[in-house]
Each structure stands twice: as structure tokens, then as C-alpha cells.
């Protein structure tokens, strides 16, 4: 399903963030992406929904080359990929409800369907009662959960989670990871970049380790540390 082929990413300032990355992820897999701070995890994830483009090499999703994708097609690619951003990226002038609903609105869902799905997903992340608050009125962990809610609200076939539990306490983290597992079980490919050793070691899945822009380990049912 997702194929990363010999990808190299050099940022405009000359920094080589990824080099010679090859990765193949099948439909419905659950993959942990681990590695030190600055290893290149976010860079890799960002290229999967074309927020960044590889300097060389290419990425294929469902055999479609991302480098060949017309700008007009990009929004549709992004709708099929739910992203939990490391820095949340919530719209500051929209309420929690509107932020989550936005992902459905762009797809022209009906108002009633939007209401149903949004309330449902806000319940899942435990934030129904903050529905009408603005992001600035939320705690760090609450913002992160809104971002999670927005990423999963339209049941995308692919879910990219960049450090989804960084601001969450262990109990909530555990619940969120269970949620992601459940989503994965419902036919969704899930890739989670994380530093949460406890969770990687507990909920055992495929582990891909990145170091200095290269994949140095790729293990089924791996541990956080080799």
C-alpha cells in the first residue's frame, strides 16, 4: 500500500534529513516509527501526505506516485490520510467542534452526518464537554486529543500519528493507543511516530527505527530498544 523508494530529503537550508530510505507498509499494518529527537520521523511522515516532497526518490500510495500527483489531486490524497500532527495544528479561531467538523466539511458531508460523527469522536477522546471551547482554552493534552479526533473523524484508510501521546498522561495515552489499535483493526493502516517506550513495548507491533535519516531497524513485534 505505502511504498517509500530510495527517498532522500534535503531541506532548503542544505540539511540532509533523510537519505536512502526504503520502506514498504502493507494495507492494515500498524507500524511504530521510533528514533531519537531529530532522527527524521516527522520528515518521513510529512512526505506521505505531501506536506514535504522528497529531493530524490519517490513515494507510492496505492501504486500512485506522489511526485506525479497534480496539485489539484493533493487535497483528495490528504482526505484519505488522517494526520495527528506533532504540533496539533488546530485552527485558533474555530471551536473544538468546528475544528473536528472541518475535516468533514471539506468533503461536503451533510450537516446532520457531521454532527453525528463529530459528537461521536469527541466522546471517544473524552472531550464532549469542551465542544464549544476554542483551542486556546484547552490544556495541552486536550488540544492533542482534538487533533486526534480530527484525524480519525472521517475514518480515513491511512492514519499517521506523530507523537500522539506526547502531552498525555499514561492512562489517557493508553486509552488513545487502544483506540488507534481498534481503528487499525477496522481496516486502517496506522503509522505512529512515538517516543513512548512503555507503549511500544506493551502493545507490540512492527517497529521501524530511524537514526540520522536512515532506517536502521525494521522488526515485526519489535521493542522500543533493540
Amino acid at each position: 500500500m505505502i511504498r517509500v523508494k530510495n527517498v532522500r530529503k534535503v531541506y532548503p537550508n542544505g540539511f540532509v534529513a533523510l537519505d536512502g530510505v526504503d520502506l514498504h507498509i502493507s494495507r492494515n499494518e500498524f507500524v511504530y516509527l521510533v528514533g531519537q529527537s531529530g532522527a527524521g520521523k516527522s520528515t518521513l511522515l510529512n512526505m506521505l501526505y505531501k506536506a514535504e516532497t522528497p529531493t530524490s526518490g519517490d513515494i507510492y500510495i496505492d501504486n500512485i506516485s506522489l511526485s506525479g500527483l497534480a496539485p489539484k489531486q493533493v487535497p483528495y490524497l490528504r482526505r484519505s490520510i488522517g494526520v495527528i500532527f506533532q504540533d496539533y495544528k488546530l485552527l485558533p479561531r474555530r471551536t473544538v467542534y468546528e475544528n473536528v467538523a472541518f475535516a468533514l466539511r471539506v468533503m461536503h458531508f451533510s450537516r446532520s452526518r457531521i454532527r453525528r460523527q463529530v459528537t461521536q469522536v469527541l466522546e471517544l477522546v473524552g472531550l464532549q464537554q469542551k465542544m464549544h471551547n476554542y483551542p486556546s482554552e484547552l490544556s495541552g493534552g486536550e488540544q492533542q486529543r482534538i487533533c486526534i479526533a480530527r484525524a480519525i473523524v472521517n475514518n480515513p484508510p491511512v492514519l499517521l500519528a506523530d507523537e500522539p501521546t506526547g502531552s498525555l498522561d499514561p492512562d489517557t495515552s493508553w486509552e488513545i493507543m487502544q483506540l488507534l489499535s481498534k481503528i487499525n483493526a477496522r481496516q486502517t493502516t496506522v503509522i505512529v511516530a512515538t517516543h513512548n517506550k512503555a507503549i511500544v513495548d506493551d502493545i507490540r507491533k512492527r517497529v521501524v527505527a530511524v537514526e540520522n535519516g536512515r532506517i536502521i531497524r525494521d522488526e515485526q513485534l519489535g521493542l522500543y530498544n533493540p
Partner: protein, 294 residues
């Protein structure tokens, strides 16, 4: 279609409401620059009105030979009236002219010195286009019955030149002002869009198409353009009618523009400029911001 339009409009309204002070500032700026634009239009309308007024006062005097008979005079009058660019032909009897002359120059002791009316019969010809005055005067000289033609030559040329150059200057100034208004309005909207650049990027990252992002901004631009235009018009309508009132009261002879057609055209122009620049500015600004993220 209509559902989309309603949806985008409601998005635009939400955005205007939530952007608070930023929106107030940009509407204020647009209002002010449209007011300035409108003042310029009113001034230039008045200047062109003034030069037209002066031009319309220009006339040609056609002095007739003393031998010309009444039926010849009547025929000439009809012929002159039929000429293009002639607006009015008036016959001035020599007696009337002499009376007028004596009234104008009371200091000249004519009664004691002049035995008889020295003035000839004449036509006063008013043109609709003062630029043609010299050529028509020359043409009139060719008539049998015409003794001489007086054409206010120098003054006419001056007023014509003046009105031609003020018209050119007016066109240049109005273009400049239009451009300035354009720049100010577009820049203002641009700044409000730049301030929301991050939001636009986020929208793109969660799957919004260009048009989905653009439409609310365009409608927002339209709405603040309309609001700015309406406020400017309200100000100008009251300000100008107050000004006309005071002016007419104190210098009633001065020809101010206050026919409704011209004024309404100016006000309509302001509204159109406001809305179209609002839309154009929003379109431009969003497009620039949106492009980089696909």
C-alpha cells in the same frame, strides 16, 4: 451551488466576526480610502463642470453690414442655427447694443460727443464645443452680409487649452487615485490574509481544496468591500450635500455639481470599486498563500 454559496457566506461571516479588531481596522481603512477616492471624483467632476461653464459663456459676435435687410437677417439666423456645434443664435439690434454699451461705460461722456449710434447689428452665437470657436469664426467671415466677426479669440483659446489640460490632468489623477485606492485596499486585505496564513496552511493540510479555502475569503473581501463602500457613500452623501448647501448659501453664482445622475454615478463607482477591489484583493492574497502547499 446555492448550498455552497450559503455555506461559504456563513464561513465568511464567522471569520469576520471572529477576527474582530483586524476586520474593524481593515473596513475602516477601506472606508477611508474610498472616501478620499470619492472626494477626488467629486472635485474633478466640479472642475470639469466649471470649465464647461466657462466654455459655455464663450460666444462669437457676428457684426452685420448696415445694408443687411430683415429677411436676410432671418435667413442667416436659420442658417447659423443649423450649423453643427452651434447651440444658440441670438440677434442683437444695434439700438439695444448701444444702450448696453452706454450702461457699461458711464464714464465715457458719449452723449455729448457721439451724435449717432456707432454700433452695427450683430448676432451672438453660443457654441456647444468651445474648441471649435476659431474655425467657426473663420467660416462665418466668408458670408456676404457679414462685416466682421469678433470671436473672443485669446480667451477662448485659453479656456479651451485650460479645459483640455485639466481634463488630461484629471484623467491622470483619477487613474492615479484609482491605483492608489486599489493598492491600499488590496494591501489591507493582503495583510489580513497574511495574518491568517497559518490557518490557511492548516486547512490545506487537512484536505481543503483551493476553492474551498478561497471562497470564504473572497466573500469576506466582498463583504468588507461593500461595507467600506457603503460607509464611504454615507459619509460622502452627507458631507457633500452639507458642503453644497453652505457653498450655495455664500457664493450662489458658483456652478457646483449637484445633479443626481452625476452624483449617483460617482457613488455607484465607489461601491463598485470597493467591492471589486475587496474581491480582487482577497482572490490575489489567498491565491498567493495557497499555492505553496500542494
Amino acid at each position: 451551488m446555492i448550498r455552497d454559496f450559503l455555506f461559504f457566506t456563513s464561513e465568511a461571516l464567522i471569520s469576520i466576526r471572529r477576527s474582530g479588531i483586524m476586520m474593524i481596522i481593515s473596513i475602516a481603512t477601506i472606508t477611508v480610502s474610498l472616501i478620499v477616492f470619492g472626494i477626488f471624483l467629486l472635485i474633478s467632476a466640479n472642475i470639469s463642470n466649471l470649465t464647461n461653464y466657462f466654455s459655455s459663456k464663450l460666444e462669437i459676435r457676428v457684426y452685420l453690414k448696415d445694408s443687411t435687410k430683415q429677411d436676410e437677417i432671418d435667413a442667416l439666423k436659420l442658417r447659423f442655427e443649423a450649423m453643427p456645434a452651434v447651440r444658440k443664435v441670438e440677434f442683437i439690434e444695434k439700438a439695444a447694443a448701444w444702450a448696453e454699451f452706454k450702461k457699461n461705460y458711464p464714464k465715457i461722456e458719449l452723449n455729448t460727443l457721439v451724435s449717432d449710434n456707432p454700433l452695427p447689428n450683430a448676432f451672438r452665437i453660443v457654441l456647444s464645443d468651445s474648441a471649435k470657436i476659431t474655425s467657426i469664426a473663420t467660416h462665418l467671415k466668408g458670408f456676404e452680409a457679414v462685416e466682421d466677426v469678433g470671436d473672443m479669440g485669446a480667451i477662448a483659446d485659453r479656456i479651451t487649452a485650460f479645459s483640455r489640460y485639466t481634463r488630461i490632468a484629471g484623467i491622470i489623477l483619477v487613474s492615479l487615485l484609482t491605483f492608489a485606492t486599489l493598492l491600499i485596499i488590496v494591501n489591507t486585505i493582503r495583510l489580513t490574509v497574511i495574518a491568517r496564513q497559518d490557518e490557511i496552511t492548516i486547512m490545506q493540510l487537512v484536505g481543503a481544496t483551493i476553492s474551498f479555502i478561497r471562497w470564504p475569503f473572497i466573500i469576506e473581501g466582498l463583504l468588507i468591500g461593500i461595507l467600506g463602500g457603503v460607509f464611504a457613500i454615507i459619509f460622502l452623501v452627507f458631507g457633500y450635500s452639507f458642503f453644497v448647501m453652505r457653498f450655495q448659501e455664500n457664493i450662489p453664482f458658483f456652478p457646483l455639481v449637484y445633479d443626481h445622475l452625476t452624483l449617483n454615478l460617482i457613488y455607484l463607482g465607489i461601491l463598485l470599486v470597493g467591492t471589486s477591489l475587496g474581491v480582487f484583493g482577497a482572490y490575489l492574497s489567498v491565491s498567493r498563500t495557497v499555492k505553496n502547499n500542494y
